[in-house]
Amino acid sequence: MYNVWENVLAEIKQKVSDGNYSTWFQDTSLISTDNGHIVIGVKNSFHIKQLKVKFSDIIKDALLKNNLEVKVIDFEVQSGSKPRVRTREITASDIARETSIKPRRTTTSSNTPSFNNGLNSKYTIESFVIGSNNDVAYAAARSIIESPGDRYNPFFLYGGPGLGKTHLVQAIGNELVRRNPDYKILYTPISHFYSDFVDAIKSGKGKDFNRKFQKLDCLIIDDFQLIVNKEKSQEEFFNIFNDLYQLNKQIIVTSDRLPSQIKTVDERLATRLTWAGAFDLQLPKFEDKCAILRTKAELMGAEIEPEAIEYIAENVNTNIRDLEGELSTILLMSEVRNLTPLELIKSGSASISHTNSKIRPTSSKQIIERIAKYYNLTVKEMCSKSRVSNIKTARQIAMYILSKELSMSTTKIAAEVGVKDHTTVMHGINKIGSDLKTNFTLRDQLAEIKESIYD
């Protein structure tokens, strides 16, 4: 096709002046010739009218001479007619951001389902990256998609913030709807659940509240832990849960901890929620993080060096949400700066944000005092050589916090908390670090201690 256009241009060149040729035809290209519908690419909108009005006969003649069928000639602005220097292209998912004009805001598109299920279609099962941290939960999710309401009912999913709970449960919902558009699903964060419930009571329709749930085929409740202290809502949820469960409808619940660890949750409800087992999402390991980053970059259509991926994976240790946030910031900055991600990282302008950076520095002494106070010990007791388990744990927590918050060296910490040498400190930090992954009580305690330190 390219050659034909060269010939056409040569033909045109003989008919028009050099000035006209280089101004109007130099940067043109032939985009398509489908069934006599000729589309010619031009540099900018100022060229279209001129070519149409002044040169269309010449163009038509030249096309005909080259044995092309001509019915209509259209022109299109094509910035690609002149290749631009760009080291890296971000396209694919970014196409939405292409310069474009929507004439007026249209309120609803015609193909939205009549029933608002609360699902966000961006969460798909395909984009969920499977690794050693989540493969069990993923397998259960697949089995639910195959036969909802069967083996894993209720499906209870728990894990820390930003590890993909919402993604996985929304993906289940989306996949179920995709397979059967008539399937009635409701996704609701528990906070909406109880605010709806409060509204219903206010307007005197408290009794009708559970009716809208009875028609559902699948109910997804997110962030269940927030039900703390909402006894009436809990009771209502318990009733709805029982109704749906009797009818073998799929129930999916997520939370950041096990139901038995949520304060004020009724024991009956707690055991019921974990009847079919509780599945947890853990922090991804280094390899999992690399895989997540690679998939995410691929979805964004961006290129990123393996070294850059490893750098991000090594430096973000909090959760997947932060990991993705950091990746998109780096990709964006590298697009703006016109550097590759690795060059950007090497230039030092991409400093990985530490989530705790907002915390003001405090003295180590203060931290130790607060921790001792939290555990009802004196500083002297805590920093003794006692092997009593609660004192030992308090001491290890102190080591952990000093190391994470103040980035103190292990030798210094050893001197502060009164242990013999730095290996003891290293052991303590590792111990707390690994306990935190499984022990939710410890996680809560740590959060409370941090709060008290930085208050």
Partner: protein, 366 residues
């Protein structure tokens, strides 16, 4: 063709349109201004094929016709005629005669057929905004300063008009700094286009004292600005603008309030000693009450000035002094807020009384 028009009106219009009529060797007709009289409506048109300026001229009498004459020559001739004269322009083929009282000249024009056809904006599909002239002028000049002139990266050579949360915002970045202005609130239409900065600067130059509103119409690949009798049509840049709002840091928690004139003074002082290409100066905040600006040039000496203000937390950042001065000059409050993070990150500058204008400067590596 025949026109009778007063000297001051013609001179003003010609000055306005002739700026973009710059020589192009391959197509000499682009040096010319097109004079068209159609049903008594007189228009002067010039184009450089990226944009076009059209000026509708109020005349006392006219006869239909069309011709082109060299724009610069014509403009200079008219501007040197005595004020208040009535100028008569007649064309006979390619010869154009201009006479005013005892002054007369004849210009060699070229046929109007050679003049390129201009694209037209499809009104029915256009998205239209009307903006007060002062806000428009201020907004564009505040943002244009951050725009790049690196032609290999076309998206950054323009100003990005976009809407979010019913706000029409404009933004520009050159990769080292970013400026955003919320231009109009409560807009209904949605838009996302890049307008070449050079075209916008031309629009600013065309603003006269008697104008109070600009009407901007966007089409798929064109934009049109209407200012009284002047119409400017420009192409849009066909590229995608970076998702700039994600570059605005949200966790800068050290907010320092400073007097703008004082900060400009200390920055200028420091800039004298910052002679390297990047003009790097060190801004340092020290709790509880010192903000200092330092620079060192090993061969010249060094400078250290400080301002007293409330500081909650220590931090330090290296900035390009020129960028900082540019940003401060774009702000207009008496007091400005500079927001920094405790780690190395971009600096955010805003007026103290409102957040309509945001200027971000990337730090330099120390």
């Amino acid at each position: 063709m025949e026109i009778e028009v007063s000297q001051d009106k013609l001179s003003k219009a010609l000055n306005n349109v002739s700026r973009i009529a710059v020589g192009r060797v391959t197509l000499p007709v682009l040096n010319n201004v097109l004079i068209r009289v159609d049903n008594g409506k007189v228009s002067l048109v010039t184009t450089n094929l990226d944009m076009a300026v059209v000026d509708y001229l109020p005349v006392s009498s006219s006869k239909d016709g069309v011709t082109t004459v060299p724009a610069k020559l014509f403009a200079e001739f008219v501007s040197n005629l005595p004020k208040g004269e009535v100028i008569k322009i007649t064309s006979d083929g390619p010869k154009v005669t201009v006479s005013a009282g005892k002054y007369q000249s004849s210009l060699n024009g070229s046929p109007a057929d050679d003049f390129p056809e201009l694209p037209e904006l499809d009104e029915t599909k256009a998205v239209i905004f009307k903006i007060g002239i002062d806000e428009f002028k201020q907004g564009i000049s505040q943002v244009a300063i951050a725009s790049s002139n690196d032609l290999t990266r076309p998206a950054l050579t323009g100003i990005y008009f976009n809407t979010y949360d019913n706000i029409l915002a404009i933004a520009a970045t050159d990769g080292y700094r970013l400026a955003e202005k919320k231009l109009v609130k409560n807009v209904q239409s949605e838009i996302s286009v890049i307008v070449p900065t050079s075209s916008l600067q031309e629009v600013l130059r065309s603003i006269g004292d008697d104008m109070d509103e600009v009407e901007i119409s966007f089409n798929d690949d064109l934009v049109r600005f209407r200012l009284g009798e002047v119409e400017i049509i420009s192409k849009l840049i066909d590229a995608s603008f970076p998702d700039y709002r994600r570059l605005i840091p949200k966790d800068n928690n050290i907010h320092i309030s400073l007097r703008r004139d004082e900060l400009i003074r200390v920055t200028k002082l420091a800039a004298l000693f910052a002679r390297s290409v990047s003009g790097s100066i060190i801004c340092e905040a020290k709790a509880p009450n010192t903000f200092s600006v330092k620079s060192v040039a090993s061969e010249l000496g060094e400078n250290d000035s400080s301002i007293e203000t409330e500081v909650t937390e220590d931090t330090k950042i290296n900035l390009n002094s020129r960028f900082l001065i540019d940003a401060l000059n774009s702000l207009d409050d008496k007091e400005v807020i500079i927001s920094l993070a405790s780690r190395i990150g971009p600096a955010v500058l805003q007026n103290k009384t409102n957040d309509d204008y945001t200027h971000i400067i990337m730090p330099l590596s120390s």
